[in-house]
């Protein structure tokens, strides 16, 4: 036994440390260690990489190269990161409607958009934390989409940022538009598998993406989450007094979103006869108490003093007035956040994301019918409705069902 162990140790030492061969070392292991199988073994993953690369170069799923198969996408089946990578494909293929916003706009499905406006090829390109710099690039590209009739832009507090910060998905969206032929964000196994499907003549899709997408649309209501409801209850019952204080004055020129994103995109859309809808997403009135009491958000850390929801309303006023002042008749603002039909907390999956399909359909119907259109002349009414809604929510209490 000891002899065997000695021989093994000797063989291992030789293999790892390159120690000289000792007489009596284990022949089999020595043979394995010393045979010249290095290259054949190492070439295997290289061949695997070559195979992946060849499939992607042939299919070109993200439309990065002058060659490749024509895109064939499946509706409503891509997780956010995939959708962001496909931005170039979407804006290069004909679409009737494009919706772009932050997470508050993500739950609208393409079927709901088509059904609401009678289109056949709507697409929702929204992703978490859309910020002014990436919104500018993506919307500029979106306006050039062949056959585009309608562009919907979700505007929430993230667009109030005054810096050039971008999040991971925003950078991905810009990369999708600026990548060159040799960039390979598509070098992942699911994309290769989806490309293989495309190569066989099917759509660019894999089943494993489905659950990720479903999570977005089938989320349970926030009322089933006692922790969040208790937090909301506490925020409303014991509000931060600042919620009723006036918001600090901020000039409209301090929002880069207006001058760098909204107006250039609005003008480009007007030239191309594209209608633009600006959506102020619905939020339960109770949530404004929560924002005030727990103001930390990695996407908008600059609330400062004064009422937070009033700062948001001031921003919306700047948006509405800029549209009117710049003569953009093709741009309409929809204040869904003041619509009591859309701000019921039972329709939300958390404190800000409206997800119930019937509520989403109601929101689209309100946009189509122009129920919540807000203009400079009606803005005071909208502001009053917001103040009223927030004040009324003060009497709300959560009663957990035992």
């Amino acid at each position: 036994m000891r002899a065997i162990i000695d021989r093994l140790v000797s063989a291992i030492r030789r293999t790892i440390y390159g120690a000289p061969r000792r007489q009596g070392a284990h022949r089999f292991i020595i043979a394995q260690a010393n045979n010249r199988l290095f290259l054949p073994v190492v070439v295997l993953p290289v061949l695997y990489g070559i195979g992946l690369c060849a499939i992607l170069m042939l299919v070109d799923p993200y439309d990065l190269r002058p060659w490749g198969l024509s895109p064939r996408l499946t509706r409503q089946s891509y997780p956010t990161i995939e959708k962001v990578n496909l931005v170039r494909v979407y804006v290069n293929t004909p679409h009737d409607l494009i919706l772009l916003g932050s997470s508050t706009a993500m739950p609208f499905t393409e079927e709901q958009l088509d059904a609401a406006f009678g289109y056949k090829s709507s697409v929702n390109l929204s992703y978490e934390a859309l910020m002014p710099p990436d919104a500018s690039r993506v919307l500029t590209a979106a306006v050039d989409t062949p056959g585009l009739k309608r562009l919907m832009i979700g505007i929430d507090y993230v667009q109030m940022r005054a810096d050039d910060k971008m999040e991971y998905l925003g950078r991905g969206a810009i990369a999708s538009l600026t990548n060159q032929w040799f960039d390979m964000p598509d070098f992942t196994l699911p994309v290769v598998r989806a490309s293989l499907h495309r190569l066989k003549g099917d759509n660019f899709d894999v089943p494993e993406w489905r659950p990720e997408v479903d999570k977005l649309y089938d989320a349970p209501a926030v009322t089933t989450r006692p922790d969040i409801m208790a937090m909301l209850d506490d925020s409303v019952a014991h509000p931060d007094p600042a919620i009723f204080e006036p918001a600090p004055v901020r000039t409209c020129s301090s929002y880069p979103f207006i001058d760098r994103v909204l107006l250039p995109v609005g003008r480009a859309a007007m030239i191309r006869k594209i209608h633009v809808d600006l959506l102020f997403p619905p939020v339960p009135f109770q949530s404004y108490y929560n924002w005030q009491k727990h103001p930390y958000s990695q996407y908008y850390p600059s609330w400062g003093t004064g009422s937070h929801y009033r700062q948001l309303v001031d921003f919306y006023q700047c948006v509405v007035e800029a549209v009117a002042a710049n003569g953009l008749p093709n741009v309409t603002a929809h204040a869904l956040d003041a619509d009591p039909r859309l701000t019921q907390i039972t329709d939300f999956r958390d404190t800000i994301h409206l997800t119930r399909p019937d509520a989403l359909r109601r929101a689209l119907s309100a946009i189509r019918n122009g129920d919540d259109v807000v203009t400079p002349t009606t803005f005071a009414t909208y502001r009053k409705a917001m103040d009223q809604g927030v004040a009324n929510a003060r009497s709300w209490r959560w009663s957990p069902v035992k």
């Binding site: 010393n34 060159q180 032929w181 070098f187």
Partner: protein
Amino acid sequence: MSLVHPALLFMCLPIFLIVFAAAGRLWGSRGALTVLTAASLLFGATQGIAFLVVIVASALVNYALLMVIVRSDRPASVRLALYTGIAANIGLLALAKYSVWLGWIPVIGTASLSLAALIPTTLSFLTFQRSVALLDGFSARGAVATDLQKPRAGEALSPANPPLRFFAFASMFPNLLIGPIAYLVEVVPQFARSSFGRIRPIDLSIGLTLLAIGLVKKFYFADIIGRDWVDPVFADVAAHGATGGLRAIEAMVAYYVQLYFDFSGYSDMALGVARMMGITLPINFDSPSRATGIVDFYRRWHITLTRVIARFLFSPLSIAGTRYAARKRWRGARAQAVSLWLPLIVNFIVIGLWHGPRLTYVLFGTIHGLWYILETEVRGTKWWKKRRKTIAEPIRMLGGMALTIPLLILTFALFRSATLADFGHLLGSLGNPAQPGVDLPSTWKFAQLGLAYAIVMFGPNAYEMLGRYRPGIRSYINVSITPRLFAFRWRPTLFWGLLVCAAIAAVIGKMSAVTPFAYQVF
């Protein structure tokens, strides 16, 4: 495109190697060099047409001047060609790199800003390599002439076209962007070998191993450490002027090792790709984290820049200073100041400035220069010479490392800071209380950082492991202090093949997100 792009590694590189080998077989070294030059120009074109135009024009100018240097019998012409070439190279680099400082000069400023906008890729490495080629031609005329000149009447024709050798050297794609900066006399003789153009299995094996090591360093250490530990903190400091105390320490400690993995990873890959073609490039890193002092550190960190600056800047300055002191009959501190201290300070400020037009780089270089002077002086004292004999070597080394590493971590945090104010804020944050939930990353992340430090402190470096096969050209001989337990020795066997296979397979899953190398902006 850089060496970590899957399109390069799994498409362009295999095709290139096949064509290179075929050309080598059919047309010998001339064919192989033609393919290498063409591939390098295509690689350059992926950085933008402006970059391609500049590198081709610069290569033509440098070749013409080099020919004057090695052929001319008139010393005045030789000197004029040398100075013109270096001025042109440094001028081009300055225009492309220092537009922030040159912007106010009427015509030059505009040209500089335009060039900087047209060429976002760094020109630092390639202009240095070309300048050094001119200096090589000047200082080793005979050797360079043999490799590059057309044969004189009656001599046999070289199998490789001499201009082609220079163009292949000047634009060789593995080290075109981020080095290592190679000497002409190191590389061109390899082109002149009759076997050049034949791909040998052992070269492929060594090349693939170095490539795999570099890829693991980049994707599994540099990128992850940067993303989790460094970038958010420096961004925080830049945006808000402060961060949590613990986070500041973590970021400083992490950046030092991130930069090492990032840059040495690229160098490993460059050496690996070159080796696949049978070309051996100089080693750029030799376990710098085990340096026992600043002098030792610069023999291990970015070696190819250190040796260039030492050879072509420090040595002439030091010789001139020594002569001046001798002429003036100066002794003691005055003589030392002009012959050693001043050249050292200039040497390190140039190293700092080479990285870009930032005051943080200048201060980084100045601090390292002063540190170098201090250490040199202390090591030269009789007290130290006597004392060092009484201290056991392992203790002396450990003591040196314990003094050196914290100071390196601190000065590299300065190097990483965008402005002096940011560095001040980072230092100011060290006293801040910890931010609950933000300051303490998960145990797994700590383990990753710990592993990274364990590797740089105790693991063998790639060149020690592959030492038996001469994976790179050594510029300095550093004593290896790798513990015996970890002194692994690579051989092209099944065992090592499986390890390299696993490394490449693991990296493939990470290659969709390519982040630029830190040194791509210098």
